[in-house]
Symmetry: C2
Subunit: 476 residues, 2 copies
């Protein structure tokens, strides 16, 4: 798979690619290219000479056919919001294929409860289109204003609604994709049941653009909840949060739609650095949980369930305090405390990040063991471990000690990752719960993945992409 050409794209080839598209759809000026090679966290520096913006699946096919013939590496890009560098071109040998111009909502089928969209549709727009048609498309992420459905699928994005609705792959009935050869995979099925052979859809989903380019998808729609209520809860420990989770699941059944854990220090950072943010509680608590209940029946039902959970939890001493949002604005402000937590770490200096999952019941043990190792290695490190407790998925982020040198601290990224991921592995967990592998975790994947599994993955890569032109240097 190392047959690709790693010399910079020639002017001739550049023109050949550009000629496959209508005028204006091939970007070659540095200023036009800039937004496609820089990502928001500035962790990955990109380079390319050419960004192609096709608007049809046939154009994507023509580009990949030429790329295969000429062994030209292609980096597919959606909203450029990925956190592991999967969407970033690494050199002038690589071209970027942006899906942004493929942005049609192709069809909404209210009876079948499906929505068929181009890969370049921005998630927020997909949510709104579903809403306008009287449905819920539940996928919900911090970057939903700019990330695209194709990228969500390529990375099998998670987010805050996984607890009730599943990961992106669970929200997709069918995909259309272009293979590296230029062949089109016509898998845009609207079927709830289809057992005709191997499930290639699930192979393409989560493959981070290394097997082909997803150009369209059939998404599942859900009934809109009739009512939704949010509470902010103060409690003593992750173990108590886990007890509360079990209680909430047993009382709310399928109506529990979010359960997010946050530490005191994360709340302090957020209040400190986010305009308008305030602590929802009068007294400080060591830990916080945001609970959301959605009722198919009514707001009263959601409220009653939420109140009954909190009442029983309070009586049994599991929680210290709780505030139920009294308005949509207050509910939004509770959610904001959770959503801004990652960004609020930035003004506090360097942050070494992890995106891990373990079996839900083992989250407290994971935190205890990881904290001990990290604080032994870096006394004074400020651990901001928050996230989707209901999914066993913790964003275990470590802010530098107060006054430490940022570069010196960040230089220990791999060392600290190794410590934390060691605990994760011992607990049967994953060092990439929802962000994927990309460039960031590629070596770690190669080092840690079971040899049998890695062998199959490499075989599949070779089968789909014999010349290795699809997003090379990512994932595998």
């Amino acid at each position: 798979m190392d047959t690709i050409d790693s010399s910079p794209l020639s002017d001739t080839l550049l023109s050949e690619f550009a000629a496959l598209l209508p005028a204006g759809r091939a970007l070659t000026e540095a200023s036009d290219i800039a937004p496609f090679v820089h990502e928001e966290r500035d962790k990955f520096k990109g380079r390319t000479r050419l960004v192609l913006r096709p608007s049809t699946v046939e154009e994507v096919s023509a580009i990949l056919r030429l790329a295969s013939q000429t062994r030209t590496p292609v980096v597919p890009q959606g909203g450029n919001t990925g956190l592991v560098g999967g969407q970033v071109p690494r050199s002038d040998a690589e071209i970027v294929l942006s899906l942004s111009r493929m942005d049609r909502i192709r069809e909404i089928d209210p009876l079948g409860r499906t929505m068929t969209v181009d890969a370049g549709v921005v998630l927020k727009r997909a949510q709104e289109a579903a809403d306008d048609a009287g449905f819920l498309f539940p996928l919900s992420l911090g970057s939903e204003g700019s990330c695209q459905i194709g990228g969500n699928l390529a990375s099998n994005a998670g987010g805050t609604a996984v607890l009730a609705y599943g990961n992106t792959r669970d929200l997709c009935l069918g995909v259309e994709a272009v293979l590296p050869s230029g062949d089109i995979f016509h898998g845009l099925r609207r079927l709830k049941k289809d057992n005709r052979g191997y499930d290639l859809r699930h192979l393409l989903i989560g493959s981070e653009g290394t097997l082909g380019i997803i150009t369209g998808a059939v998404l599942k729609l859900f009934p809109k909840p009739a009512g939704r209520e949010v509470a902010y809860v103060g409690l003593a420990s992750p173990q108590q949060a886990l007890n509360l989770l079990a209680r909430a699941e047993s009382l709310a059944g399928g109506r529990l739609t979010a359960f997010e854990l946050m530490p005191r220090i994360g709340l302090e950072f957020t209040v400190r650095h986010t305009q308008g943010a305030r602590d929802p509680m009068a007294e400080p608590h060591a830990w916080y949980v945001l609970i959301e209940i959605s009722s198919p029946q009514s707001g009263e039902d959601a409220r009653a369930v939420l109140e009954s959970i909190l009442e029983v939890a309070f009586e049994s001493g599991e929680i210290e305090d709780a505030a139920i949002a009294q308005s949509l604005a207050e509910a939004a402000s509770f959610w904001r405390m959770r959503e801004e937590m990652s960004w609020a770490q930035k003004p506090e200096g360097g942050s070494i990040k992890h995106d891990v999952s373990v079996p839900v019941a083992l989250v407290p043990e994971f935190l205890d063991r990881a904290n001990a190792l990290v604080l032994e290695a870096i006394p004074g490190a400020r651990i901001v471990s928050f996230g989707h407790l209901g999914d066993g998925n913790i964003h275990y982020n470590i802010s530098q000690p107060v006054g430490a040198d940022k570069e010196v601290f960040l230089a220990r990224w791999t060392e600290i990752n190794t410590l934390v991921h060691g605990v994760v592995a011992e607990l049967g967990g994953s060092f990439s719960a929802e962000h994927g592998i990309g460039q960031l975790k590629r070596e770690e994947l190669a080092r840690t993945k079971d040899a049998v599994e890695l062998g199959l993955m490499r075989g599949i890569k070779g089968l789909f992409d014999p010349f290795g032109i699809m997003n090379p240097g990512k994932l595998l």
Copy 2:
């Protein structure tokens, strides 16, 4: 992939395989083998000289290692309830590997809501183990008393709970499997989020034992509904049933857990041939729907929702009559009318069967067009089209005309399949919604599947199983 040995298994090799297991776990007597080569519908006649019954994943691994070395074809078998011949050995060259002795419930994790089981656990037992632990494992099939979890996964079984909970693949977090080489795929993960590369789990699920043998699985558990109510509804047409479905989904939200369509003739057959079965309604109706509502809250809530759906539907003229089950016994009798419908066709003579799906909204069009073609081809044919309307999945079964010659009628199986599946294809549907491909639909798959997709499937088969020892002659 035609490198396998098709001569009957030699006595020497037979002894070598038998020596891999404790005494008594290798069956060679015809009377012992009989239950493994005959399937209930008698559509596929099996043959083998050897049935192996390993009880550990290591034993399965040793068998497949030897099978690979000696190019011996292996047919994995669970509860032997498959309807497409996937589990049936075709000749004395093939050995059967039965998973029945791998029947441990390995672990139940109440906080993570998972259950880890051996592949040979019977579905009914898995349901009961979940129930004992205070949870619901929702997979529900006619054959649940004998089918096994491994077979459910290998065939991605559907059933009556798909509407609310998904197909078998949606109920599984991780699998353990043995590859044809004997290598063990250690994918028994209990994680709700894990984005470390290609999803091999979903490739193994639904591959009908052609890529490897699933030996264990992590299954998702769900909260038990607090209340469940069932109604039997009489109405005029599939279009009215579809209108009722839309209404039920909008009023019940996630609480709609079954929506099954049945024609009058199916009810007549069932009443005629099933002991104790009776028509739940005083007057005859052209079509019937069984609706089930499950509430996380209470039986009263389920009842109230069900009543409100029926009330509005009745007022708007969508339905003609409705009976809400007044007891658990009555609910069971309603369900029985649906479950016995397939068997009730048997005393009526030959039945040409289909297991198709189309987008939900197109079910009435499918029925109109298919009926016209079938009745033109075979005047007097009695069409018993019933099934999971909420999934767009219809068991389109055709009983012979009264007094017709059964053999002459059944000889037209392929001709009629071709007519019906032609309509299915034009509507973007599937000719195998939930039963799989096996032997029965293998040629049709090869003939109709998109060349790009078929090429990828064959490539994957070659990658996993270079000597073609895994369940040859099935699926591909």
